[in-house]
């Protein structure tokens, strides 16, 4: 059996590892589109901050691929012919497959504004991007970051720690609008401003132009900001262009069933490029988060190796550390119609916790949560959501005091003898 995996991020690497375990005699070819060992984009901010060197971003030790007999190729795939079951890389190499996994991830978008193509407007997506940003930071002290979403905020931390004068422009009315509500997003903004970062929410960049040796970033509020580097973190989209004409169905991402299989026989998709099942909604959505990518990769690989394993849906969840203030969101953090909710909000202490319960027969089931400034035992939120644990009497106790979540969790899941 010849397994080919397009994409050498966490999803592709976990898939290759799982395939090797399940199918010891198979040929496994892992294709990344950068000429360096597979690495984690999650680790790039730590690389930028010099917490780790480049090897510290690697997904596995460098001998992993040899010892597991996984062939690794650093080339972009340009074409997939699903009739002949062969793909072509950018150097013209044709690679036949028996089973194909597409785990090609996503790619960053540049905003459609004048000047987005100037040489010192960067994404911060690849190790190469990070190298260039780090290089310029020695001489460049004024940086504009477009986008305060999840990725923007991760980069924000490393830029701020590099000691540059940083201005962040976010078109949403708060920071991380797709992960935090207005209370949490508002607190995060206040936090960043206190740490010396300039934040403009509800603001768009109209254009970027060069003037002498700096750039001028024009905002829609009339303000213009000088910058020598502009970093764009305005969104990503699944990497599917190379699948044109392949017959593989693409909606927002590649359409898959619960076995991570596409509409084409012997072709699977997983991770950020795939539109997999969301645990909370039951809908098929692109989640583009690390835990989902590794879940997908593992389940796709099990199916490729002949085990019919279903993906029951991944809980959408995020964790973000912004200059030391840690935020989380889980599941249906914006709540459901008819479901109760409770929050505690302490702006001085930068603490926030919001719990969302279901409705109908799930009225005592936790379906979502978001937090700020809370870190201990945070994973039980996932546990409670995914196990659909009925909280019973603990729901009313949590409505009075959501910080008793651990007690509720232990009482409801551990069958504590004589402890109700």
């Amino acid at each position: 059996m010849r397994h080919v995996i397009i994409g050498a991020g966490p999803c592709g690497v976990v898939a290759a590892e799982t395939l090797r375990k399940q199918d010891p005699d198979s040929t496994i070819i892992l294709i990344g589109n950068e000429p360096i060992p597979p690495y984690s984009r999650m680790a790039i901010p730590y690389f930028l901050m010099k917490d780790i060197d480049e090897a510290g971003t690697h997904l596995r030790s460098d001998d992993f691929y040899d010892t597991h007999n996984i062939q690794y190729l650093g080339h972009a795939v340009e074409n997939v012919d699903t009739d002949l079951k062969v793909l072509t890389t950018d150097d013209g190499t044709e690679i036949p497959y028996d089973k194909l996994l597409i785990a090609a991830g996503s790619k960053p978008l540049l905003p459609p504004i004048e000047g987005a193509d100037l040489p010192n407007v960067h994404n911060c997506w690849t190790i190469e991007d990070a190298r260039q940003i780090a290089e310029r930071s020695h001489s460049c002290l004024e940086v504009v970051l477009m986008g305060a979403g999840f990725i923007g905020c991760i980069i924000l931390e490393s830029l701020a720690k590099m000691g540059v004068n940083l201005t962040v422009i976010e078109m949403g009315d708060r920071m991380v609008p797709r992960m935090l509500d207005d209370k949490a997003g508002g607190l995060l903004e206040k936090w960043c401003i206190e740490k010396g970062v300039n934040i403009r929410t509800s603001t768009r960049v109209n254009s970027i132009r060069e003037e002498d040796d700096v750039m001028i970033v024009e905002l829609d509020n009339g303000e213009s900001i000088r910058a020598c580097t502009v970093i764009s973190a305005t969104g990503v989209k699944p990497n599917t262009e190379f699948l044109k004409g392949s017959g593989i169905e693409v909606d927002h991402g590649i359409v898959v069933n619960t076995n991570m299989q596409t509409n084409v026989a012997n072709v699977y998709a997983a991770g950020d490029v795939a539109q997999g099942k969301d645990f909370s909604t039951g809908n098929y959505e692109v989640q583009a988060i690390q835990p989902t990518a590794t879940d997908h990769g593992r389940i796709a690989a099990l199916n490729m190796a002949g085990h019919l394993v279903e993906h029951n849906g991944s809980v959408n969840m995020n964790v973000l550390d912004t200059l030391g203030l840690i935020s989380h969101s889980f599941g249906l953090w914006m709540g459901v119609e008819g479901g109760d909710s409770v929050d505690i909000y302490n702006a001085e202490a930068y603490k926030y916790m919001n719990l969302r319960f279901g409705s109908g027969i799930e009225e005592d089931v936790l379906v979502g949560a978001s937090t700020l400034g809370v870190t201990q035992h945070i994973g039980v939120i996932r546990g409670l959501i995914e196990s659909k644990t009925h909280l019973g009497v603990w729901k009313s106790r949590l409505l009075k005091d959501p910080t008793r979540l651990m007690e509720a969790y232990l009482s409801c899941t551990q069958e504590l003898d004589n402890v109700v």
Binding site: L59, H328, D417
Partner: protein, 159 residues
């Protein structure tokens, strides 16, 4: 025979010797706030529940780590954080459905129970046998493991 920690809330008196022993073993100082075993108090009932990682087979933390910083100790089955590799991204802390791997602000890394290499200090320190380190099969198996396998849909996928 693999051993595992057996936690029996009915026997726990809330003395916190386990937290003291754990932090002393890991940090060389008595600092219960940094212990990776925690005793939870149920004030209304006057009950206590010791709680830590059960080294579950699913190893959500290990699977979610983007930099291969969590590995399995083959002799004990413990999932261990390699501090030199951990970048502090915290993805494991949201992935673990038991909440037993936690971010430590002081170190900028995550911490979890490693079974002290096969001789857990918490079990030795417990005066009432609320925490014991015994043959895994003899524990009638662990509550959390049972909970994982029965109630978490994504746990039923190991092949």
């Amino acid at each position: 025979m693999q051993k595992s920690l057996h936690l029996d809330p009915a026997k726990c008196t809330g003395c916190l010797q386990c937290e003291m022993a754990c932090s002393y073993e890991k940090l060389g100082e008595f600092n219960p706030s940094r212990s990776v075993i925690k005793v939870f108090t149920f004030h209304e009932e006057g009950r206590f529940a010791p709680y830590t990682c059960t080294q579950c087979d699913e190893a959500w933390c290990l699977r979610a780590c983007p930099v291969d910083a969590i590995t399995m100790d083959m002799s004990t089955g413990a999932k261990i954080v390699i501090d030199d590799k951990c970048v502090g991204c915290k993805v494991c802390t949201i992935s673990c459905p038991f909440g037993t791997i936690n971010y430590v602000q002081e170190t900028g890394k995550v911490a979890k129970c490693d079974l002290c290499g096969g001789d857990p200090e918490c079990a030795k320190a417990c005066p009432t046998e609320a925490i014991t380190y015994i043959d895994a099969n003899a524990t009638g198996y662990d509550r959390m493991k049972a909970f994982a396998e029965k109630s978490l849909p994504s746990a039923n996928t190991s092949a």
